[in-house]
């Protein structure tokens, strides 16, 4: 290959019209570029990247003398739009995932609240609803029936009038039934009442002694 100096010399001898400085080197390599090159290649092979983007940016904006073409990685500007698009897509995907999670949590919370309301407010009447279904149709929610509280507890919540009507419908003479079931313990004083009354106490003592 012919050396640059020789070409210049030859051109001046030929009295050429070509402008001088045409073959000046516009591209300068950084200091110690070639001395550090083998080490840099080995580091790249090993996976250690010395020239990070931040380092590049820093060198671009701080050293005015350095040629930008020597610092920016190969195909940097070609791949830049793709890089930006990828970043935007990732953010969009993460945003949509976050929205999905939030909507799922909101739906779950709503369902739990609704269930709570139904159980709390609808429990009393719905407790025996399956039994009604049983009476009117062939369908049967058997386990629900078995879990019903004791009959006495449930009867406490029913009015006297309703019970009377039910019994009358089923052929009971209510007054007779209640009177028959009543013992005289309502009319008779209790044990304590005896001792409160001095005359009764005297009678009781007199009778018990004489017996």
């Amino acid at each position: 290959m012919v050396k640059k100096v020789d070409i210049q010399k030859e051109l001046s001898e030929l009295n050429s019209n070509l402008p001088s400085g045409l073959f000046d080197n516009n591209y300068e390599t950084p200091n110690n570029y070639f001395t550090e090159l083998p080490g840099a290649i080995i580091e790249k092979v090993k996976g250690i990247d010395r020239n990070t983007e931040s380092e590049l940016e820093f060198s671009v904006f701080t050293s005015g003398e350095t040629n930008i073409n020597n610092i920016v990685p190969i195909n940097y500007f070609n791949s830049l739009p793709k890089l930006i698009l990828d970043k935007i897509k990732k953010e969009r995907v993460s945003d949509s995932n976050r929205k999905k999670k939030l909507s799922f949590i909101a739906t779950a919370a709503f369902c739990i609240t609704l269930l709570g309301f139904i159980l709390f407010f609808g429990k009393k009447d719905n407790l025996i609803q399956p039994i009604n279904e049983l009476a009117n149709s062939n369908s049967l929610k058997f386990n629900t029936i078995r879990n019903i509280l004791t009959i006495e507890n449930n009867l406490e919540n029913i009015n006297d009038e309703e019970i009377v009507l039910f019994l009358k419908e089923n052929g009971h003479d209510i007054n007779a039934a209640v009177i028959a079931s009543l013992t005289d313990d309502i009319l008779l004083p209790g044990m304590n009442d005896y001792f409160c009354d001095q005359i009764t106490l005297n009678k009781y003592l007199y009778n018990s002694i004489n017996q």
């Binding site: 025996i128 039994i131 009604n132 049983l134 009476a135 062939n138 049967l140 058997f142 029936i145 078995r146 019903i148 009959i151 006495e152 449930n154 009867l155 406490e156 029913i158 009015n159 006297d160 009038e161 309703e162 019970i163 009377v164 009507l165 039910f166 019994l167 419908e169 089923n170 052929g171 009971h172 209510i174 039934a177 209640v178 079931s181 009543l182 309502i186």
Partner: protein, 128 residues
Amino acid sequence: MISAIAIAQHDLHNNKDQKGREKIKQLYIAYITQEINLNEDEAEKFWPVHNQYDIELKTTYKKDISELEKEEEILSVRKKFATKFHKIIGNERTNVFFTKDREFREKLINRLRDHQIKNYKKNPTTRP
């Protein structure tokens, strides 16, 4: 206007009564199902027959006949349906059913009695 309100109140009262009786009926079904240990298949056969039994008994109660005749008729209805129940739940559990049926009514009467005693103790001027 007044008559409309009166009719509405009457309807409301009737609905309330109906609801109360319905509640007791539901409790009765739950009680019997539990006491005679009905399984799902048995229950599906038993309750439709029982509904018929209930209707026939109520019709008999309403008949304008002498007390003795009424009791005889009720007994014949019970015997008739006892054989039907027997086919579904067997002899032993049919007997248990009739016992528990009576016990349920006794529970209702006891519940009335207990409330009347409580009321009497709160306010002795009200004689049960």
